[in-house]
Subunit: 342 residues, 2 copies
DNA sequence: TTGTATGCGTTATCAG
DNA sequence: CTGATAACGCATACAA
C-alpha cells in the first residue's frame, strides 16, 4: 500500500508538500499541486488514518455502548447516532453490554486504549459502582449519556420525558373511565422503572385515585414477567380494567396472557404500553402506546458529544436534553368503561 | 495520558522491557516484571492501540456494511458478528448504506483508509458496478459476503437457503390445498428477489401447477408495495387463495390490506411470508413464516473472515456457507382449502 | 535477560 | 512556498 513518501517521490516533491495539498491548509503552487494529485491518482494512494490519528491525537471515532442492538428500541437510536456522526466526519463503533457492568467496564478499557474521541453511553447501572465512568470523565473523556442518567454523576445527557409520557397515557385511561389501572414495572433500582412509575403515581394522585398495591407490580422488563403478572392480575378476584406495561417487551407477554385466557382487548381488558413497535402496528390488537423519539436521542446525543469534543469548555455546565414522547391512542384502549366495569 | 516511556522510567527499566512484559512473548525476570506491573497500575497506564496498530500493521478492527440497522433482519446479524468478533479480540465498526452504491463506495474508501483488517459485506448491488469491491479484493482486503452473493465475483460468503426455504413454504401451502398462490417479490435485479422467486417456481413446477402471471407480482420490499399489490390481488375477479410475501416488510402491507378490506386470515385468505418477526408472534394473525438464522449468518461470517485474516491462504478456494431456514407454521395458513375455494 | 535504536506513516515546525 | 526533520507511542531486531 503506497505511502505519502511514494507519492512525494513520484511527484518529485517532499512529503511536506504532499501533506500540504492533502490538508489544503497551506497554499501550494498549482504546478506542484497537480503533480501531487496525479501521483495520488496513479498510485491509488489512501492516507493512512492510523498514522494520522497517532500524530494528531484524535481518532475521529466515537464509541457507543448500548444494552443490546436486538432490542428494537436501540437500532433507531444507533442509526441516529451513526447518521449524525457521519455528517461530522466521525465513525461509530458500537458495543452491547446486555446491561452487565463487568462487560461495560471491559468496553471502557478497550475504548480508552483505542483512544476514541468521545463516548455515547447507555449506562448499564444507574447507581452502584460507576468508578470506571467517573474515572474516564476525570481523565477528560467526553461522555454523553443516552436514555438513562446515572445518579450522583453529573454528565451531559439526552433522555426522554418518561414520567410525562406515562402520566399522559394514564390520564388518557382515567379519562376513559378507568380507575383500577395496573402498572407493570421493570425491576427495582432501575432508572427506567423509577421514572416511569413516577408518571403513574403522578397521574393517579392528580386524579385522586387511591393506590391499590396489588395493581403495582414489579416485573423485570422481560416477556415472561409480563406474561406471568398479567395472568395473575387477570385471574385475581378483583382484576384491573386496564394494564399499562412499562416497556413493550413485557407488553408482549401481557398480550400473550390475554389471548391464552381467552380474553380480548379492548373488549375484556384495556391495554397500553411504553414504546411503540412500528412493526406490530398492523397486527391486532393495535396497541395504545407511548412513543419515544429514539432516532433523535441518538442524533442529538451525538451532536452534543461532538460539540463537547470540539469545544472542550472545561467549566461549562452540563446539558440535559429531555425529549418529549408522543401518546398514540389505538384500539387497545378504545373501549369506554361503563359504570359496571369493563 | 501516560506512555510506555513513563512506565519504563517509573519502573526503572527500558521501554523494551515494558513492551516485553506487556506482550508476554519474552521472558522477563520476576523482579522487573513486578516492578513494571506496579508502575502500570500506579500510572493507570493503557497501551495506545493506535500506536500499536501503526507498528504492527493490523488494527484488530472489522468493518461491517449493511443496508439498515433499523430493518429488523440486521440487528441479530450484527449481534452475531459482534459477539464472534469480540471473542477473537476484534471490534466491529458498522455502516448503513440503505443499499445505495455510492454510499457503499464511500464507506469502502473510509474503511480502507482506516486499515480495517477485514470486511463483512452485505452488498448493496448484486450486479452492476462492483469495481470498488473488486479492487479491494485485488489489493488484498479479506471480504466475506453476508446474505447476498454478488455476481461474477467469487468471494467467501455466508447466505441462507432462500430458494429452499420458499419452496418448503409453498409446498406447505399446496399441501393445504392451495393452487392459486400469489407471490410478491422485491424488485427486478435483486439477489433476494431472484433466489426466493426460484423457490416459488420450483415448488409450483414440482406440483404441476401451471403458473398464472397475474399471481406473480413484483413489489419493492417496502410496505406500501405489499399493501397495494395485496389490495389488487384480493379485489381482482379471480383472487388467490394464498399470498406469500418475499419479506416481512411487504407482508405488513399485506396484513394491512387484508384488514382494510374487512377480511380475516386465515378465514378469508391464507398468508405466509419470508422472515419471522419474533416481536409479532403474540399478535393476530400469527404468521406462518420462513425463519432465517440471522445471528448465525453474522457469527459464522465473522469467524470465517477472521480465519481468512489470520491465514491468508492466497490460492485457497472460496467458501460458500449456506444456512438452512426453518418453516414455522402458524395460524395464518391453518385453514384447509375446500374444493369450493377458501 | 535487558537495553538501544530504528521505523511504522503522518503532521507540524522551522529554516531556506 | 517548499523541504528537511523531529515527534506521535509502540514493537522489534540486534547488541550488550
Amino acid at each position: 500500500m503506497p505511502t505519502i513518501k511514494d507519492v512525494a517521490s513520484r511527484a518529485g516533491v517532499s512529503v511536506g508538500t504532499v501533506s500540504n495539498v492533502l490538508s489544503g491548509s497551506v497554499t501550494v503552487t498549482d504546478d506542484l499541486r497537480t503533480r501531487v494529485e496525479e501521483a495520488i491518482a496513479e498510485l491509488d494512494y489512501r492516507p493512512n488514518l492510523i498514522a494520522r490519528s497517532l500524530k494528531k491525537r484524535q481518532t475521529n471515532t466515537l464509541g457507543m455502548i448500548i444494552s443490546d442492538i436486538v432490542n428494537p428500541f436501540f437500532p433507531e437510536m444507533v442509526r441516529g447516532a451513526e447518521d449524525a456522526a457521519a455528517a461530522a466526519g466521525y465513525i461509530l463503533t458500537t458495543f452491547n453490554t446486555d446491561d452487565r457492568v463487568e462487560r461495560e467496564r471491559q468496553v471502557f478499557e478497550l475504548l480508552r486504549s483505542r483512544r476514541v474521541d468521545g463516548l455515547l453511553l447507555v449506562v448499564a447501572l444507574v447507581r452502584g459502582d460507576l468508578s470506571h465512568v467517573r474515572q474516564a470523565v476525570e481523565e477528560g473523556l467526553p461522555i454523553v449519556c443516552l436514555d438513562r442518567r446515572p445518579e450522583g454523576l453529573d454528565l451531559d445527557s439526552v433522555t426522554v420525558d418518561n414520567a410525562g409520557g406515562v402520566r399522559q397515557c394514564i390520564e388518557h385511561l382515567i379519562e376513559r373511565g378507568h380507575r383500577r389501572i395496573a402498572v407493570i414495572t421493570g425491576g427495582q433500582g432501575k432508572y427506567i422503572t423509577q421514572v416511569r412509575l413516577d408518571g403513574y403515581l403522578e397521574a393517579m394522585a392528580a386524579a385522586g385515585i387511591p393506590l391499590d398495591p396489588n395493581l403495582i407490580r414489579d416485573g423485570n422488563f422481560r416477556r415472561e414477567s409480563g406474561f406471568a403478572i398479567a395472568k395473575e392480575l387477570l385471574t385475581s378476584p378483583n382484576p384491573p380494567t386496564a394494564i399499562f406495561s412499562c416497556n413493550h417487551i413485557m407488553n408482549l407477554g401481557v398480550v400473550q396472557a390475554v389471548e391464552e385466557l381467552g380474553l380480548e382487548s379492548p373488549r375484556d381488558i384495556t391495554l397500553a404500553t411504553f414504546d411503540r413497535l412500528k412493526l406490530t402496528d398492523v397486527f391486532r390488537p393495535h396497541m395504545t402506546s407511548v412513543e419515544q423519539p429514539s432516532y433523535e436521542i441518538g442524533a442529538q446525543g451525538t451532536r452534543l458529544l461532538i460539540e463537547r469534543i470540539k469545544n472542550p469548555a472545561e467549566g461549562a455546565p452540563r446539558v440535559h436534553i429531555q425529549l418529549p414522547t408522543q401518546l398514540r391512542i389505538a384500539e387497545s384502549s378504545s373501549g369506554r368503561l361503563s359504570a359496571a366495569g369493563n
